[in-house]
């Protein structure tokens, strides 16, 4: 297959000859009509170089899920609805939450009155009254309901 073999060293002459023989066999064994097929499939590129670019252009990548406007809108609506549920729908189960809220309000009212007394006058002479108020608060029957509830919870 190669014509440039005049200077082939003796030690590789046989290998060169075998290789040339192999190469010729492989070239001769090329599928019939190879050149015609190559011409038919490539002539379009010669006439219009953009032909292949168009046909072989990769398909546009799918739009990422979160880039899709409808999905964004749906996500925003879902967020608003969930937030509204938290704000506007009364807490359930009503029993436990109402009970805690009522007692919290009572404690805050008591503290308010204690602080009002303390700051309206010299705090030291009024310490006794503050103490009395706190004792009254701590002994208040309103906590008995809380205690009962806590005991029930512990029992569970």
């Amino acid at each position: 297959m190669n014509t440039e073999s005049n200077h082939t060293p003796d030690d590789i002459r046989e290998t060169v000859s075998a290789l040339d023989h192999l190469a010729k066999r492989e070239a001769d064994a090329a599928p019939p009509g190879l050149e015609d097929r190559i011409f038919l499939r490539t002539a379009a590129s010669l006439r219009d170089p953009s032909a292949r670019a168009e046909s072989n252009a990769p398909a546009p990548a799918p739009i990422p899920l979160w880039n899709r406007t409808p999905f964004r809108l749906a996500a925003a609506i879902a967020l608003v609805v969930i937030a509204s549920l938290f704000f506007f729908i009364p807490n359930t189960p009503s029993g436990t939450t109402d009970f805690v809220n009522q007692n919290t309000d009572l404690i805050l009212e008591e503290l308010d009155s204690i602080l009002a007394v303390a700051y309206a006058t010299d705090p030291y002479p009024e310490l006794d009254s503050i103490d009395a108020e706190l004792s009254e608060l701590l002994n208040n029957d309103s906590f008995s309901e809380l205690d009962a509830w806590l005991e029930t919870e512990e029992a569970l």
Binding site: L19, D20, P31, R41, L46
Partner: protein, 196 residues
């Protein structure tokens, strides 16, 4: 359509003229170029890839690239068409070989079936020798294999191969010689293995 099976060589000035005409969308010039080079590109690809279908696909993609470069004025290798063509071809072959390697299922080389002989009538001894030679060729390092394929399958002169591989001709000659000695040694070792 007339069949194109001619594989000859052309003078550089003839090739340049064909290239100019092809760049002007001359189908006949394009046919001539394909007739001159397609089979050699195919042979070089087939030597490396072994699959005839893939070798034809590579050949086609090389010519598509050539057509695009010619018609868009990007071909600037005037007078060095062969080295340019085969550089593109060998890059494609290497890419394909890498891709094939990535997807290859590991197999015990000892269990390889003998490569079937081409459907051309040849004496049994010759067919087996060629199979033996192909197997040995596949065992050569990539760089040695490339030189042999460019030289013997693509039928390129050493000067052109030197341009493609960007090496001095002297170095290339030495490397070619070494590659062939390695090939011979692989074949001899295999022979010793089978005769023992």
């Amino acid at each position: 359509m007339h069949a194109m099976t001619r594989t000859t060589t052309a003078e550089p000035h003839q090739v340049d003229s064909l290239l100019e005409r092809a760049a002007d969308h001359d189908d006949n010039a394009w046919r001539e170029l394909i007739a001159l080079y397609a089979r050699r590109v195919y042979a070089a690809a087939k030597a490396h890839i072994a699959s005839p279908e893939l070798a034809e696909e590579i050949t086609q993609s090389v010519f598509v690239t050539i057509a695009e470069q010619l018609t868009t004025g990007k071909y600037v290798e005037r007078g060095r068409f062969e080295s340019w063509l085969f550089r593109i071809a060998m890059n494609r072959v290497r890419d394909e070989a890498r891709r094939a390697k990535r997807h290859a299922i590991p197999t015990d080389p000892a269990s390889f079936d003998p490569i079937p002989a081409d459907p051309v009538s040849v004496p049994a001894d010759s067919a087996s020798e060629l199979t033996h030679l192909r197997t040995a060729l596949a065992q050569l390092p990539e760089a040695d294999r490339t030189i042999i394929e460019l030289r013997h399958h693509a039928a390129l002169p050493f000067a052109t191969i030197a341009t493609i591989l960007e090496e001095p001709v002297g170095t290339l000659l030495a490397r070619h010689h070494r590659a062939l000695r390695k090939l011979r040694s692989i074949m001899e070792s295999a022979n010793e293995g089978t005769t023992q």
